[in-house]
Symmetry: C2
Subunit: 318 residues, 2 copies
Amino acid sequence: MGSENKKPVFEDILAAAARIAPYAHVTPVLQSASINELVGAELFFKCENFQRAGAFKFRGACNAVWNLDEQAASNGVVTHSSGNHGAALALAAKTRNIPAYIVVPNGANPAKLKAIEQAGGKITFCDNTMKGRDDAADKIRQQTGAAMVHPYTNVDVIAGQGTAALECLQQTPTLDFMIAPVGGGGLISGTAIAVAGKSKTCRTIGAEPSGAADAYESLQANMRITDIVSNTICDGLRATVGEINLHIMQERRVEIFTVPDQDTIEAMRLIWERLKILVEPSCATVLAAIIKNKMQFTGKKIGLIITGGNVDLDSLPW
Amino acid sequence: MGSENKKPVFEDILAAAARIAPYAHVTPVLQSASINELVGAELFFKCENFQRAGAFKFRGACNAVWNLDEQAASNGVVTHSSGNHGAALALAAKTRNIPAYIVVPNGANPAKLKAIEQAGGKITFCDNTMKGRDDAADKIRQQTGAAMVHPYTNVDVIAGQGTAALECLQQTPTLDFMIAPVGGGGLISGTAIAVAGKSKTCRTIGAEPSGAADAYESLQANMRITDIVSNTICDGLRATVGEINLHIMQERRVEIFTVPDQDTIEAMRLIWERLKILVEPSCATVLAAIIKNKMQFTGKKIGLIITGGNVDLDSLPW
């Protein structure tokens, strides 16, 4: 229950799916004939931009909120987040009628701030450093007794994020690959566990911005690299990969593809134009990775976790 | 079969639905809890932006193409269109492997031009007047023997457009209202016939830009008014309402609400932000009309035909 040490297993993802079912949307899987033609593969877009609060993050947050016992829950939950996780936790807390304290680094995306407020989250601003975030969240935890729900190292969060891939595998024919973006690693680690548990043949791939490729470098070096200064438009993918998340990726042999922002922006626009859906830059990394390496994917069936749709319409990247 | 005189009836819409079923998408109906809360009514968005070629127009075009006999079809089809109908007819012709000649007025939306080309349509430019369009289309018809498929007065087109409302009524609980944008009147007239045939209680409403309110004025004056110079960002709704379309609206007692562009732009942005889908300004008129008149709709169930998603991402209206 929220322990930061014990890695989640497939059964935890099945339990999470059952736990969040009353609150989370079953999101649709969309296809585009013209993108398939362009790539030479069959792509299945798992549209978590249609998830509640506009991102897959609601799955993990909701699982964490509802896996607290009554007494712990009554003090509420606290987290730090540059955006989607904060809004997701605030909304998840609302489904249980408990308070949510959200620590937000200065300079966060305004659209995401608005979403946190609309979901009833209590916002505290902090310096945009890991230490600034941790200190502010710790202080609130001590003052209120709220349970810390870390955006990606919390095991309930990891298990909850894994339900998106689980659901995708239930909605599609046998897939050869499942690909998800890599930020702190909550989604990719949950995805890797879900895919390994559900399919004998499907392989999990991560897509990471070239300008924030700490998970890629960590896998290469076989040790967690924490001194990379991120430089990417993918504001959901700037976090440094978590220890537990890296371990799960190593264990499950997740391969990571890196993509430059320019490719991501082009892929984002392609998704908007062909699928007629709003997606954040972060999610377009997965399509950019496939397009960039398309020889490897010819004729394959691929699930793509489209992570969220909370875009600031006043500052689009093209 | 394409006669411009005999008004279509409900059976024609049922026949159209069967005829286009192998080629057209069954589009989803989406809801937004936050928009429902804002409006105080239950809204069902019939998402024709997910239709093939990105708009409901594929339904009418496809019905017209597949209702031609073998010999007529072999000469192809011709139309004039500022955008969506042209791309739709080109794609519909492609499903039958026949040529499509599309007359496009100078100054048309580049995104829509690209869509016509991608679907294999043969483009001819003309002056942006009704006479310029008619003359250019007539000339092609005489040269090629292609069948004219007028964008909104053709009865097969009207019947095809009506299948969107029919499908929406099949997908939703009993609706009190169905609302669709009004341009030349192909969609609204088909919708009115479908709704009257399918439901005893549901009423059809039209939404028209204040700057192109010729259908509204025509209904008020009880005669077709053709001298209004359109001034609206809704590029799909600038056409003058057709004679047959106006007659059907009168017969079916369609009520029209007019909406200023500013309200339409706000409604468009609301749809993008809350539903995470791309929609054209034209479709946002329906939500703008409901918001502007929300006292009349309190507690009601309303179907909204979301007509298309072919937006030029380089020139968004906010």
